[in-house]
Symmetry: C2
Subunit: 311 residues, 2 copies
């Protein structure tokens, strides 16, 4: 095992199991924050919550190939391990992260992993009924990849609690169902989205954007908040609220910037993720969107997602 | 918790977790034998192995709906709980089974479970590349059901070791891959097939057969052994052995009984389960078959499987 200045770095499954075994026998609780690295304030809020709630905290940094399609940004996804470790070492003052799990692809997928879903062999986990809509429309293999790697990581770390950010709203629903359906003995904790001061949701993919574009992208959350206000106004008039007026308002606002390409804006049932036509107060809805925006110094676009919860 | 005369009967997930938690803190090893009940000498050999190798042993009895297709024998599958408990209480003299987990369907599938695969929602586990051939041809949802329920059970029981019978050869390969790929912290132990004195592999489905039919079915294992002899003769002549001569010999012998319907006889690579044309000594093959034979007092047929390992 390599020991960094402050945090234990674990590189293999057996190193994690060994670390965990001792904590089992000491009856210590373990909080786990799975990440793909490129850490930002959003991740730090998950880590902070884990430090508060558990005796020990472990963070994983692993860019999971199986959730990327061949045409997606796996190769270019930001990998900033040194900076990530520095953040984990310097960001938390009262209590430190105890271990970081940084496996190679061959450690997580000993038989290799093709990005071509038809060539993928071996055990995969899929949450049917919650993985096909919203993000799943343009990224049909995304949640199968997420569900599979999260199952592996939970079986390796065996945490008391695992932490996910509300920014990835559909992911939170998928993981909640995964853990419940497969009876994984871990508690799922969802932590609210951390935003830049202008409202833009923190995301590792924000690194693709110029400073100016980040400011322009703040319109996305402003639009979601406008949608929420509209819901609240209508809700006060009594009864259910037609989701289309909210969706249309959000689309109108975002499309004022003609460089933005709206992939979807949707109002979904908070548990089934089915499209909701009439939003029922008390049941509410997740209003989520995916917007493609220009990358800095590239003709390609970055794909940003965000959401707001209506109660 | 209900306490039977000798063995603790656990009916809920939380009862099992409570039982298991104490053993974790006492640092005791746990052996687990998952069954669908209708226990016979085959199951008992798994239990015996578990008793030998572990501090504590738990058996589950659960007829898993998700591995049955709508037209299969879920409703008629033998359910003999009282007799099963009696066997578990009386069969082992030196050391006793410690607990039996007997969940209801609603405990294992809190959201319900449709037999129609298109209507199944929630988290499912599938071992791609190993679930589609052999048994998977006529039972396309079988291994998805098995893989899913075994994952659930392993996450509930968290055993040190789990026991399966070699009779279900493909199941053993699927589960070995499942546990390895999903990094489940359990050791898979495969125990050799137990047979009646006439050679017929023990199976809960043998209960569908008359005494006379059981005797006639002993030809299945005799045919497999003939195939193995033929392999060994050819192997001694040196080099690889053409699988078709072995398969043909087995089919010839089984089809002497015209009431038997051969579903498949196949020679498969022991790890990839791909069809093997030339069997390489040292690598070997699993020669397996599924044969439909007449049920007692019914016009339907029972489907028996068996296999022999060539080295």
């Amino acid at each position: 095992m390599t020991i960094s200045s402050k945090i234990l770095i674990l590189r293999t499954v057996s190193q994690v199991r060994q670390w965990r075994a001792k904590l089992f026998s000491d009856n210590q609780s373990v909080g786990f924050v799975p990440t793909m690295g490129a850490l930002h304030a959003g991740h730090c809020s998950l880590v902070r919550k884990s430090l508060e709630e558990n005796d020990k905290t472990i963070v994983s940094i692993f860019v999971n190939p199986s959730q990327f399609a061949p045409h997606e940004d796996l190769d270019n996804y930001p990998r900033t391990l040194d900076r990530d470790l520095e953040i984990l070492e310097s960001e938390f003052s009262d209590k430190q992260v105890d271990a970081v799990f940084v496996p190679k692809v061959s450690e997580m997928y000993p038989n290799g992993i093709s990005l071509d879903i038809d060539k993928q062999k071996g055990a995969f986990v899929n949450v049917h009924g919650l993985s096909e809509q919203l993000e799943g429309i343009t990224r049909p293999q995304f949640f199968r990849g997420v569900s599979t790697v999260v199952t592996k990581l939970l079986n390796i770390v065996q945490p008391t609690r695992v932490y996910f950010g509300q920014k990835d709203a559909q992911q939170c629903v998928v993981i909640n169902n995964l853990v419940r359906d497969l009876m994984i003995p871990t508690k799922v904790r969802v932590v609210q989205t951390v935003r830049e001061s202008n409202g833009l949701a923190m995301s590792s993919r924000n690194e693709y954007l110029s400073k100016e574009m980040k400011d322009r992208c703040s319109i996305i959350y402003k639009a979601l908040k406008e949608g929420a206000s509209l819901y609240n106004e209508n809700r006060e008039k009594g009864g259910k609220v037609n989701s289309s007026i909210i969706i249309d308002r959000i689309k109108d606002i975002v499309s004022q910037n003609d460089e933005f390409e709206i992939e979807y804006v949707a109002a979904s049932h908070p548990e089934s993720l089915e499209d909701v036509e009439l939003i029922e107060p008390g049941v509410g809805a997740i209003v989520s969107c995916a917007i493609k925006v220009p990358k800095e110094s590239s003709t390609e676009k970055a794909r940003l997602i965000d959401n707001i919860i209506l109660q």
